[in-house]
């Protein structure tokens, strides 16, 4: 047996023996005699990455009892060490995954059945949080157990330790840092409480609330406040071990799971509110909003689950793949390098990969896409360790740290580099034969008395053989090598009549052994080394000089019709148009308007301005941009389900990537109120946005706008059309609806009193008194009572409209707007007296009982009585034709065209308290204007230019070029994907993302939906 083969055997043997016993297990009685070993190893002559940035050449690593004892060049090797010569090999610290569910049992989630009753209360037993989605009391170590199969897969991928948690709930409790040794749980749990985990996914909880993204955020927010209150005295009133644990976990690093870039921004925002620097687990799409991601200053955990190419051979199927998905396929591998070049601190995770073995290969892709190797290694080792405050334990190979390291045959980031061994806590796990023998060469093979030519080629460790007879005729053969034995079988002749089977071993450079002929006769054989293979026979593929890959550009937002560069405010002079001023001068013809610095700067005849972009408005109409008082576009979710959900904020869930923003720009819409849905009497807080297509969510918000909130009455609040299961949530009648309002405002008043009393205490007493609990729901209601937040209330029939006005009057405030308000015409006089505005549909009806008496003359009648009246959409499609809907008030009820136009511009601006800056063409107002091809009330009119703050966000002249560019980009990517498929790369089936078009009645509730409209 050769010396090399002997070493191999030794290591293999070690593997067997070490699995018996290991480190300190003082408390465990031995079954048999005590068998503790020395466990000292020395690895010599290796290239050693002590950490991601410190490389030693020809160095020695000494480990003892699972830890690094010494590392360096020229150090003495202890006598008791088992020595391995790693000449030509490289040692790296094993990888650390900060985001894993290794060894944690899967969470069982019941799926609620259709028609079932909602679960209003928690079903968790014990003194825990009122809401099941808050599971701060959970500690991953309590359920963790070593899973040998999973551990093996992770070790094969190069991991030595992972931080493991249970992915369930918004507040998920703590994680544990564990090594991947196949050992007792007691030995592998390195830190039983490493980090606190959060998410924006409610998980297994079937409790109704929260049921929306904004509800998730609101609950997390309230839980922070509750925990503070609990700590400061709330714990004297009752026992909540979730809050207790929540407080305890705050000393740990906090890891927040955000599945995509928008959730990442949301998580960072929550963190900033409570002074927490979350380590945010992103979705791998951060490059799509890199500036905003960078601005959060958050540390990130980044997956490397780059998507496979789609199978786009069938052009119809290919239509199902969106531009965004095509582009993400191409650009996802650039995400890490984009993060790195923007200075974002990040660690990698294997989370989201089908197989952890893709981890390294995908990081290699990222390196090819521009990520520098040092940063890559850092993100695999030092950074995750540092995030977990375990950088003295894992992620490097300094003295005293865990002996977790991998042995490779070279640079980790090169494709043909192999990991041979992964040592975890000083235990070797062999992944591949380290001392692979190079058998390649030409041999003279003698089998019995017959001579053949044997050619062995291929890389060490994966040889392949050719057997020739008479120098030319090739015989079909198979060649295998395992440990120190080899076996070769080949056809006895060209026709394949039977096989000759040989088994043997190496003797020097030669091979010899025994075998059987076709007839079963045993023979001896020898293969004598003759010469090396010629260069071309070695089939060493020359690395083609890799061409710099051509990549598409990032667009904002990252979807069809996004822009490579964001529109900018311009100096614009619109000449000779018909101007619908919405002011005293009415509709004026042949007039010019100058837009400057985002404002309307001049209106008049024959204006000029040096350097202005001149737009000819001859024959065209210029109006203020349309404002949609009631929209549900550009939001991730719409409804939460508590009867009073005042704490939820649409501003938390703005979806800047929604294509409907662009589509509505094409309909002349410049701004909207994103309203909560109508599932509850008091819904969530509105977001007032301008449709600045391409900008990030926070930048869509209208600065300085007043706060608004959605309320609702009638069938949706009563859950009349939600199926037979939904008959227990209060209220179920219009009588109950009133009581919800009265109760809510009464509680708000009491809340105010409680705080006033507390705040009035003398300083000393106050310091000794526990502060009342802060309640974000009641604080919001209090804003309404203090006239700092304004109600837009979904309503249909006259009784309920009357009711809410009376409730408001009783609490000394006024309803700002009734929205839908289809029977408003029956109460127009009372509404005018109350001072409430009306935002209605032009002609919708017939979809439910409470719209039976809806008439298209509603707007005209209300307007005629002096109610400020608007036409809204509540519908992403109709919103792009609001100009036409306004025109219907002329048809039904004879409103003048000028007045009709105000119903989609100035009047909604008034309702939203924005009429001092929007809604008309007046010097000093925001340059939010639309140039129409025709009278804007005509069905033939098209918005040609939609301008917001002086920037052109939609331009019909650019539209064709945009479509062409979109098609070309898709065609380019499809060709590229076809090349991948042709080259044998993996593909996935085409699938299209489809966004749901929300109406205010859409509820994701109790795991099923109601979509009644």
């Amino acid at each position: 047996m050769s010396k090399r083969l002997y070493t191999v055997c030794k290591v293999a043997l070690l593997l067997l023996t070490l699995s018996i016993g290991a480190f300190a297990q003082e408390t465990f009685p031995a079954n048999g005699v005590k068998d503790s070993r020395l466990q000292v190893y020395a690895f010599t002559n290796a290239t050693i990455y002590v950490d991601y940035q410190t490389v030693l050449q020809n160095a020695t690593l000494i480990i003892k009892e699972g830890k690094v004892e010494q590392v360096g060049a020229g150090i003495a090797i202890p006598k008791e060490a088992i020595v391995t010569d790693l000449k030509g090999k490289t040692i790296y610290p094993s990888f650390v995954d900060p985001y894993s569910q290794y060894g944690i049992p899967a969470v069982k989630a019941e799926r609620a059945s259709w028609g079932g009753q909602p679960q209003l209360d928690t079903k968790t037993s014990g003194p825990f949080n009122w809401n099941e989605a808050v599971k701060a009391e959970y500690n991953a170590y309590t359920e963790f157990t070593v899973n040998p199969k999973e551990a093996e897969n992770l070790r094969k991928a190069g991991f030595g330790a992972v931080n493991t948690f249970r992915a369930d709930g918004l507040v998920r409790g703590s994680s544990a840092l564990v090594s991947l040794a196949s050992d007792r749980d007691q030995n592998v749990v390195l830190n039983e409480r490493t980090a606190a985990h959060f998410s924006l996914d409610k998980g297994s909880s079937r409790q109704s609330y929260p049921s929306s993204m904004m509800g998730y955020i609101a609950l997390i927010r309230q839980t922070y406040l509750d925990a503070q209150w609990y700590k400061n005295g709330g714990n004297k009133t009752f026992n909540d071990q979730s809050l207790e644990s929540f407080n305890r976990n705050q000393s740990l690093p906090s890891i927040f799971d955000a599945s995509d870039k928008l959730n990442l921004l949301r998580a960072a925002k929550i963190g900033s509110e409570f002074g927490v620097n979350y380590i945010i687990k992103g979705g791998g799409d951060e490059y799509q909003r890199i500036n905003d991601v960078k601005a959060t200053k958050a540390s990130l955990i980044i997956p490397v689950n780059f998507p496979d190419a789609y199978d786009v051979e069938d052009p119809y199927d290919a239509m199902m793949v969106s531009l965004a998905d095509l582009k993400h396929w191409e650009l996802a591998p650039t995400n890490p390098s984009v993060l790195a070049s923007n200075g974002v601190a990040f660690a990698f995770t294997a989370s989201g990969l089908k197989d952890p073995s893709q981890y390294l290969s995908n990081i290699r892709k990222a390196v090819k896409a521009g990520l520098d190797e040092k940063t890559a290694l850092k993100a695999m080792t030092a950074t995750p360790a540092q995030f977990l405050r375990s950088d003295n334990t894992v992620g490097a190979l300094r003295k005293g740290m865990l002996a977790n390291f991998v042995v490779t045959n070279g640079n980790l980031f090169e494709d043909d580099t192999k990991i041979y061994q992964n040592w975890v806590q000083g235990k070797p796990y062999v992944l591949a034969e380290i001392n692979e023998i190079d058998l390649s060469g030409k041999y003279n093979l003698m089998v019995g008395n017959t001579s053949y030519l044997l050619e062995i080629s291929g890389k060490p460790g994966s040889p392949s053989a050719k057997v020739k007879v008479n120098d030319t005729t090739e015989l079909k053969s198979t060649f295998k090598m395992s440990q120190d034995l080899l076996s070769l079988s080949f056809d006895a002749d060209k026709e394949g009549n039977g096989k000759i089977r040989l088994s043997g071993w190496m003797v020097g450079k030669d091979l010899k052994g025994n075998g059987q002929l076709v007839n079963g006769e045993w023979i001896n054989w020898t293969a004598t080394y003759a010469e090396a293979l010629k260069a071309e026979e070695k089939k060493e593929e020359k690395k083609e000089e890799e061409k710099k890959e051509e990549l598409g550009k990032v667009i904002y937002p990252f979807t069809a019709f996004g822009n490579e560069t964001l529109p900018k405010s311009e100096l614009i002079l619109i000449k000779n148009a018909t101007i619908w001023t919405n002011e005293a001068q009415g509709i004026v013809t042949e007039t010019d308007v100058l837009l400057k610095d985002g404002k309307i700067s001049q209106i008049g005849k024959n204006l000029s301005s040096a350097g202005a972009r001149v737009i000819d408005g001859t024959g065209k109409h210029l109006t203020a941009g349309i404002i949609d008082e009631h929209t549900h576009i550009a939001a991730t979710s719409i409804n939460d389900v508590q009867s009073v959900s005042a704490e939820v904020r649409m501003g938390d869930v703005i979806d800047s990537e929604d294509i409907d923003i662009y589509r509505q720009l094409a309909g002349g819409v410049v701004a909207g109120q994103i309203l909560h849905g109508s599932a509850n009497a008091i819904g969530g807080q509105s977001a007032l946005v301008k449709y600045r297509w391409g900008l990030a969510p926070e930048q869509l918000k209208i600065n300085g706008a007043d706060g608004f909130i959605k309320c609702a009455l009638g069938e949706n609040v009563k859950q009349s059309n939600w199926g037979d299961g939904n008959t227990i949530r209060y209220p179920q009648t219009r009588m109950g609806v009133e009581q919800v309002f009265v109760d809510a405002f009464t509680r708000a008043q009491e809340y105010e009193k409680e705080w006033n009393a507390y705040n009035a205490l003398p300083a000393k007493t106050k310091a000794a008194t526990a502060a009342p609990r802060r309640d974000l729901e009641l604080e919001t209601l209090l804003e309404i009572l203090r006239k700092k937040r304004f109600i837009s209330c979904h309503s249909y029939v006259q009784s309920e409209i009357n009711m809410l006005m009376k409730v408001a009057e009783r609490f000394d405030f006024r309803i700002n707007t009734f929205t839908h308000i289809l029977e408003g015409y029956k109460l127009a006089d009372k509404m005018a007296e109350h001072g409430v505005a009306a935002s209605t549909f032009a002609d919708w009806w017939a979809y439910k009982m409470e719209v039976r008496e809806a008439i298209p003359y509603n707007a005209a009648l209300m307007n005629g009585e002096g109610v400020v009246t608007a036409i809204n959409s509540d519908d992403a499609e109709m919103a792009r034709r609001l100009n036409q809907e306004a025109a219907k008030t002329v048809k039904y009820g004879g409103v003048s065209e000028e007045e009709a136009w105000k119903m989609v511009t100035l009047n909604p601006a008034k309702m939203l308290h924005l009429d001092n800056r929007m809604g008309s063409i007046k010097v000093g107002k925001d340059a939010d204007v639309v140039l129409w091809s025709d009278n804007p009330l005509s069905i033939y009119a098209k918005a040609e230019k939609t301008i917001i703050d002086g920037a052109v966000y939609f331009d019909i002249e650019q539209e064709q070029a945009k479509r062409t560019a979109l098609e070309q980009e898709k065609a380019r990517l499809i060709q590229k994907m076809l090349d991948v498929k042709k080259a044998g790369g993996p593909t996935q089936r085409p699938a299209m993302r489809q966004k749901h078009m929300f109406h205010c009645e859409d509820v994701i509730y109790h795991s099923h939906a109601e979509n009644l409209d």
Partner: protein, 432 residues
């Protein structure tokens, strides 16, 4: 139980009350009527700027250019329509009108029978002439409708009605002219309420197609059998598809489904085929033209079917298909906005068609598709006098103002409950 009964009682009292406000059907045309001076949009693409149109006993007797033709109008009731616009009555195809009153109230939903194969159920017998929706449609110029069952794989048989009549027999205009089938989707839409966001391949596609195939094979065999011993109502209803007396309406959206659905029907020997839906019909326009398949666009005012699609694709689809040589009918799926039919055509005019072509998509084209073009769909001598007079452009909400309407020459009452409520509250506020 007590509560239930009182609810039912209340509901019936309320409904009874409201139905009483549906206008009374018009009486027969008493004498010849002449409309003079109108801009007549004939529905066949032609316009007469200054038209003379006469009709008697419900039939059009003269359609002429008043500058050329002189006729003695004595004995006629003369309507001077100088500069106003005259149109053929609009035809609303593919509608649940009369089968549905309030979408959220189960008791008022009569358009979808249980089971997957219902060719034998007939919309006409459930058609409610007293539906409150009817007057709102007539108010905007819609005078005929194809009352269509929905749901299942084969939903049932549709019939054409005139929107005036004492009962369904009175209103019936063409009985059981077609059978409606939803074709199998190769892709399934995401169940958004479960958090799904992706359209995915339908794994059961082939099994579902085989099931339909079996049904059609059985129907064909039954039709060939002449008089089978055991009468099968479903198979009886299917017979007309194979002899050309009934049209098969196939609902499909995606390009692949459109082609496979139509080819399936052709292979089964169905004589007359119409495509409904057709969101991606623009990708198979040549196929539709070559096979002479009319397309019913179920909704013009909708969003594009994917983020990447041209933002105005639903608006311009009618024009694109028409220009490609496909016969297009504009309709509406649902009831909520069905009264806006003229404006759907207006949108088609804004996005690529001329106005007369667009008008044809809601008049002559549906008439042809429904097999009633000899009687309706255009203003031509010999056809039934279904006419609308509007003070302005009917296809534009700025102009649409129907002043008079005739069904079979009968002048109908355009007002309904909505106008009544308007008047009531207008007067209330005026008096205050």
């Amino acid at each position: 139980m007590k509560q239930l009964i009182s609810t039912i009682l209340l509901a019936s009292v309320a409904l009874g009350n409201l139905w009483a406000q549906v206008p009374q059907p018009a009486s027969e045309q008493q004498k010849p009527i002449a409309i003079t001076g109108a801009v007549a949009h004939l529905g066949n693409g032609k316009v007469i700027e200054n038209a003379l149109v006469t009709f008697d006993k419900g039939k059009l007797t003269l359609v002429a250019d008043a500058r050329v033709v002189r006729v003695d109008l004595s004995g006629h009731e003369v309507i001077e329509a100088n500069g106003k616009h005259l149109y053929p009555g609009l035809i609303l195809a593919n509608t649940e009108l009369g089968l549905l009153e309030v979408e959220s109230v189960r008791a008022t939903r009569d358009y979808s029978e249980t089971g997957d194969y219902n060719p034998n159920v007939r919309s006409i017998i459930a058609y409610n002439t007293d539906s409150e929706l009817i007057p709102t449609l007539r108010y905007n110029g819609i005078l005929l409708a194809q009352v269509t069952p929905k749901g299942g794989t084969i939903s049932g048989s549709s019939s054409v009605v005139a929107l005036d009549g004492w009962n369904w027999e009175d209103a019936a205009y063409a009985y059981d002219e077609g059978i409606h089938m939803g074709w199998v989707n190769t892709y399934q839409r995401p169940r958004w309420w479960l958090g799904e966001t992706q359209i995915k391949k339908n794994e059961n596609y082939e099994a579902q197609v085989r099931e339909i195939e079996q049904f059609f094979n059985d129907a064909k065999a039954y039709a060939n059998a002449g008089k089978p011993k055991t009468v099968n109502l479903k198979m009886e209803a299917m017979k007309g598809l194979f002899d050309g007396s009934k049209t098969l309406y196939i609902e499909a959206s995606y390009a692949k489904d459109i082609v496979s659905g139509i080819q399936f029907a052709q292979a089964m020997g169905v004589k007359k085929i119409v495509l409904k839906g057709g969101e991606q019909a623009y990708r198979v326009a040549d196929f539709l033209k070559e096979n002479a398949i009319p397309v019913v666009l179920a909704n013009v005012h909708r969003l594009p079917s994917s983020t990447d699609e041209d933002i105005d694709m639903p608006y311009k689809l009618a024009a694109d298909l028409t220009k490609a040589g496909v016969m297009v009918v504009i309709a509406y799926d649902g009831l909520q906005s069905s009264r806006n039919l003229p404006f759907f055509a207006g949108t088609a005019a804004a996005y690529g068609l001329d106005k007369e072509q667009a008008l044809q998509l809601i008049t002559l084209n549906p008439a042809k598709m429904l097999g009633i073009e000899s009687r309706a769909g255009s203003i031509e001598v010999g056809k039934d006098a279904h006419l609308i007079l509007s003070s302005g452009d009917l296809l534009d909400m700025r102009g649409n103002n129907v002043e008079a309407a005739f069904i079979n020459g009968k002048r109908i009452n355009l007002d309904g409950k909505q106008q009544m409520l308007y008047q009531r509250f207008k007067e209330k506020f005026e008096q205050e």
